[in-house]
Every structure is written in C-alpha cells, then in structure tokens.
C-alpha cells in the first residue's frame, strides 16, 4: 500500500494530518531544513511530534536536508543521536557528506534523499543507494515514463511529490535567492540560519517569481517575462503512480494554515483509498475529485500569492551587518 506522507510545520499540524489519514509525517529540525525557521520544530517539539505521530499509528521523519557548513556536522550528529533515541523513523537529507556520516553512525536509520538532492537519473539513484540511502524523492520535473524506469532500478524506494512547487530551475541547483539577499543570522542555539538560501536552510525569497524584463544590451526585448514556476496538485497521475508501485506520495506545505493542509491530506487519503479499493474491472472516475480539488487549489493559490509578495518585499530590504 502506498504511503501518504504529510507535512507538519508545527505540532497542531502534526496532530491534524495524522487525524486526516497521513501514514507518515515529516517535520523540519529548526535551522536544518529547507524552510523558514517559523515552520520548523525545536528539539523539544520534535520529541512531542514523534509521540503524536506514533500515537496515531503514523511514522515521523525529520528533515535535516540543508547543505550545512562542515563545522556544523558534529552538531548534526548530536541532534540525530537524540532523535534516534526518541524513536524517529527516518531522516530526510541532502548533503552527500552528511548522509554518509549519519549512515555510518546510525546504520539502521532509514535515510531518504531529499528533493534537494535533485535525483534525476537511475545512476543518481545508485549513487545515493551506495552511500546509505534507502528511499529517494524524485525530482518534480520527471515524467511518469522516467518514474517507471526508476522503479526498475531496484531496491531503492521512490517518493513522488503530489503537492509542491515545480520551480523554473532544478531544486537544489539554484541560488538565485541568496545572490539577491543573504542574511546570516545565528539563532539561540548557535545555528546559522542563512536567510535567503533554501539550500542552506533559510527561506527562499522566490525572486524567480518577480516580473522580469528581458534586455539585450540596452534594448528591451520583452517587458513581462514570467519564469515558469507552478504550484501543482497531482490528480490524473495518482492512479498511474499507485499502479507503478511508487512507495510514497508526499504532500509539501509546512507553511500553509493547518486547516488547509488537513483538507489536502484528507482529500488524498480518500482518493487513494477509493482507488485501491475499487474492483479492478471498474473504471475510476476522477471528475468528482477534480471538483473537490479545485476548491482546495483556489485557497492554496490565494495563500501562495500573499506569501510570495511578502517574500519579494523582504528580499529588497538591506541586510543588517553582523556584529562581530
């Protein structure tokens, strides 16, 4: 049975998504995942999230998927030691070195290669398998045909994002945001938050969503260039993904309001259950599901527009100089 993996940007969301039917929940360790620290959990909260998930029969994964500094690796291992002792079910990671180190120290911990690892081909999958990864998140740009080929690549599980952003660039291979603004700020626990760099754990200013003008020399060629960036919900692809035998369908959205995320999780739970329980000879009608999804999508789009405007405004603010 395919696993439905849901986000939790706080404990209330963790509880809501478990109650809405998620099989697994992921949370970010504060300062160590690809989101603003407001949507990440302190160690104490992470402990409680594990309890909430397990009480509801769900697994809890921790995202520590930044490209940290070398000097931060010991702190990461200390954190992992705590999380493992508390019973965390897996770690979502990006940095090749951090993956290898965590695998060496905690050989039984399940490691998932994050979307930030930008896994594009079967050889990539083998590389990550070699260094200790047992499940990989497929890049959002991959086609169903490519995912089918991935299944053939063997013992590594495949996760597919079913609600996420499809950026103009490959995720994990983009630093447009910190090129425009990077604020180095250390939190109360000594972690550099790298605001402006999603790869390093800070927020992404989404500068790609600015309305760009295109020039050659001084000549204006186009006054409204929108770099493709779609926030998508999968619907038509859900049945074929289940048929392909992908291991996990993952919903992103730690930054959205709890009721909206709960609604998304409930929608996909019911969709998956309806599809897998239908008699094989009967066709599956997606029309009613499409209607439900349109309502959810309208609310998500409104939220996203607001968030993007806030981020683009923030990106123009001067960076305060760090005190020594």
């Amino acid at each position: 049975m395919v696993e439905l993996l849901a986000p939790a940007g706080n404990l209330e969301m963790a509880k809501a998504v478990v109650e809405s039917g998620a099989n697994a929940v992921y949370v970010g360790a504060r300062g160590w995942s690809r989101r603003r620290d407001a949507y990440e959990l302190s160690d104490g909260q992470l402990h409680d999230a594990i309890g909430i998930a397990h009480a509801g029969g769900a697994k809890l994964r921790v995202a520590i998927n930044t490209n940290m500094q070398s000097s931060e690796l010991p702190a990461l291992l200390e954190k992992m030691e705590k999380f493992v002792a508390w019973g965390v079910d897996g770690a979502i990671m990006t940095d090749v070195g951090a993956i290898a180190e965590v695998h060496r120290h905690f050989p039984h911990l399940v490691i998932h290669a994050s979307i930030g690892a930008n896994i594009l081909n079967n050889e990539d999958v083998k590389f990550y398998r070699d260094i200790g990864v047992s499940q990989v998140v497929a890049d959002t740009k991959l086609t169903l045909r490519e995912l089918a080929a991935r299944r053939i690549s063997g013992e590594v599980g495949i996760e597919v994002l079913i609600h996420a952003n499809k950026c103009y660039t490959y995720l994990g291979k983009c630093w447009m945001s910190p090129y425009h603004r990077l604020e180095r700020r250390t939190d109360d626990f000594g972690k550099d938050l790298f605001r402006g760099s999603p790869n390093r754990g800070g927020l992404d200013y989404r500068v790609c969503l600015e309305q760009w003008e295109l020039y050659t020399g001084q000549e204006l060629l186009e006054s409204r260039i929108a770099l493709k960036n779609d926030a998508f919900f999968y619907l038509d692809d859900i049945p074929p993904l289940i048929d392909l035998g992908v291991h996990c369908l993952k919903i992103q959205g730690r930054e959205y309001p709890v009721p909206l995320v709960a609604l998304i999780v409930r929608f996909y739970r019911e969709l998956i259950d309806a599809y897998v329980s239908k008699p094989p000879e009967r066709a599956f009608d997606l029309a009613p599901w499409r209607e439900r999804l349109e309502v959810i999508q309208a609310e998500r789009d409104a939220r996203r527009r607001d968030t993007t405007l806030v981020l683009l405004n923030e990106a123009r603010r001067p960076v305060p100089r760090r005190s020594a």
């Binding site: 090749v96 070195g97 594009l120 990539d124 590389f127 490519e146 291979k173 090129y179 990077l182 790869n199």
Partner: protein, 314 residues
C-alpha cells in the same frame, strides 16, 4: 615552474578557434546547460575529438565537461562523450551530476575527475565521499565562503578550483523560456541564448542563457588574488561560456599577469587592468559568496563598480 593553472570553459569548436588562449593553461570543453547549444562539443563527438587535439597541440591541458542535469535519456550520450574523452587523451572529466560521477568511476576508473560547481560540494564530509569516487579536484558550490572552501580543501587534501572571474552560475532548468519568444526575434535557437540577454527588474539583473541563469554581475576576485594564493589555492577559472572570445582572451591576460605578481607577493592591480574589467562588465562586479555575504555584493576598492548602471558597453 608552473605554480598555478588558469582555465576557462568553451562550448564549441568556433569558440575555441576564436579565443586567444595564450594566457590559459587549460580548457574545459562543452556546454553543460543545453544539448542544442550551437554545435555543443558534448553532442558533436567529431568536433570534440578535433578540439581536444587542437588544445593539446597548443600544449594546454584538456578537460571535457559533462551535463549538469542529465536525465536518463541523456546518459548514453554522456557515455559516448566519456569514451571520446578517454580515447582522445583528455586530461580529466568534469562532472556536475553524481550519477555521471558513478559512471566514470565504474567505466573509466583511471580517468581523473574534476567535480563541478553543480555537484554541490558544501562540506568536507561530502568532498571526502566524492574523492573516493575518483575526484582529484573540486569546484565548491558557489554558495560557500572562502573560509569554508579552505577548510574543506585542507581537511580532505583535495584541491579546490575557484571561479575568479566571470558569470557565476545561479541555476539550471530543463526548460528554455527563450523558445516562447524567439519567433519575434531575428536570432533563433541554437544561437539566441548567446545574445547577452539579461533579466532585469529594478536594480536586479541576472544573465539568462535560456536553460541557465547566471549572475548579472561579473564575479571579480582580481584584487583578492594574493589572498587566494596565500590560502594555498592554485587553480582558477574564468567562467565565460557565454561571453565573447574577446572577453575570454582579455580577462585571462589580466589575471595571468596578476597571478604572476601575486605569486611573488605583489597584490597591486594597475588602472589599465581595471579599465579592461570595466569594459567587459555590463552590470558591475561582485564577489559571489566568497566573503559570506549576499552573492551580488562586492568587497574591496572597486566598490563603485559593484553598482555600474546599465551601461551596455559590449
């Protein structure tokens, strides 16, 4: 005695033949962004073989690069490029994709590997893993500071190659938005992406090459070369894959002279050099992330050039 290496990237045979390579020690061959780039070495294997021969004839080292974001369908082509590189005597392969790294390690284990900037080396532990796969040098991810680079190089005993001048990569896509507009323009694919295109909004500017986004400003480490040499760095790249042959030739001469001075402890840069740099920048200068700041900032005496207005001098 050769104490440092200055290199650059050239995408095709025309670019190779038009560029004055006299100030360079090595050339990376191929365009990592796009398969349809004009006569890309990575698609035209006869050109690649010929290019390798011509660069070797000049006594320079030849490196063959590889696609930064290859999907399954491209891997057979990558494999053929590797075969040509090996049989034609290339000195190293540059890899940006870890799957390709694994392929080189399995199929061409004696081929030295340079790990490229898109391979995301951020940590010493990461560099250490890649070294086990045959890496003999690494270009750090552009987001990390010089302090971090040095710590990695020292800890892993793996030399770093640094982008010292040119357009810093900011992102790579599978989608070329220029194709939506080219019907309106005189230039089309496969040359439209070479038309010095900039995405602008207010005082923001990025260079677009269709499937890639580069810094609008030129990374310039000219006045910081002494510090780089003092830190033990010896391999430097002029990143000019989408610049003119004149840019590649002129900027390299400035850096060669400055590196020779830096090697004997002289860090001064003459006004003529700055004048040339100024001539070859459209949006100004920056240091990338080398000093731990916003990538578009500039630290040093040429601060006023960090915010050159839209001069279009090229």
């Amino acid at each position: 005695m050769q104490t440092f290496e200055l290199n650059t990237t050239i995408s095709n045979l025309r670019g190779l033949r038009e560029t004055d390579l006299s100030a360079y020690d090595a050339v990376y061959m191929g365009n990592i962004y796009c398969r349809t780039f004009e006569n890309n070495f990575l698609e035209r294997l006869d050109d690649l073989r010929q290019g390798i021969a011509e660069v070797k004839d000049r006594g320079l080292r030849t490196y063959v690069t590889s696609y930064a974001a290859p999907r399954n369908e491209v891997l057979p082509k990558v494999e053929r490029v590797l075969e040509v590189a090996a049989s034609a005597g290339a000195d190293a392969i540059e890899v940006h994709n870890l799957g390709v790294l694994r392929m080189v390690h399995e199929q061409f284990p004696s081929m030295p590997v340079h790990v490229g900037g898109f391979a995301n080396v951020y940590t010493d532990a990461g560099a250490s893993v890649l070294k086990e796969y045959g890496a003999v040098r690494f270009t750090p991810n552009y987001e990390i500071s010089l302090d971090e680079v040095k710590a990695i190089a020292d800890s892993v005993s793996l030399p770093a190659e640094l982008l010292v001048h040119g357009k810093m990569p900011l992102g790579i896509s599978d989608y070329c938005f220029l194709l939506e507009y080219e019907h309106k323009w005189a230039d089309k694919c496969p040359t439209v992406c070479q038309k010095n295109l900039f995405l602008r909004q207010g005082d923001w500017a990025m260079k677009s090459v269709g499937k890639g986004v580069l810094s609008g400003k030129d990374v310039c480490m000219l006045e910081h070369l002494s510090a780089l040499v003092a830190a033990g760095h010896r391999m430097f790249r002029i990143e000019a894959a989408y610049e003119t042959a004149a840019y590649r030739g002129s900027i390299a001469k400035i850096y060669r002279a400055a590196l020779e001075s830096a090697a004997v402890g002289d860090g001064t840069v003459d006004e003529l050099s700055w004048h040339t740099v100024r001539q070859h920048t459209a949006v100004g200068l920056c240091n990338g992330f080398y000093f731990g700041r916003t990538g578009g900032e500039y630290v040093g005496s040429q601060g006023e050039m960090a915010e050159v207005s839209w001069v279009g001098t090229r």
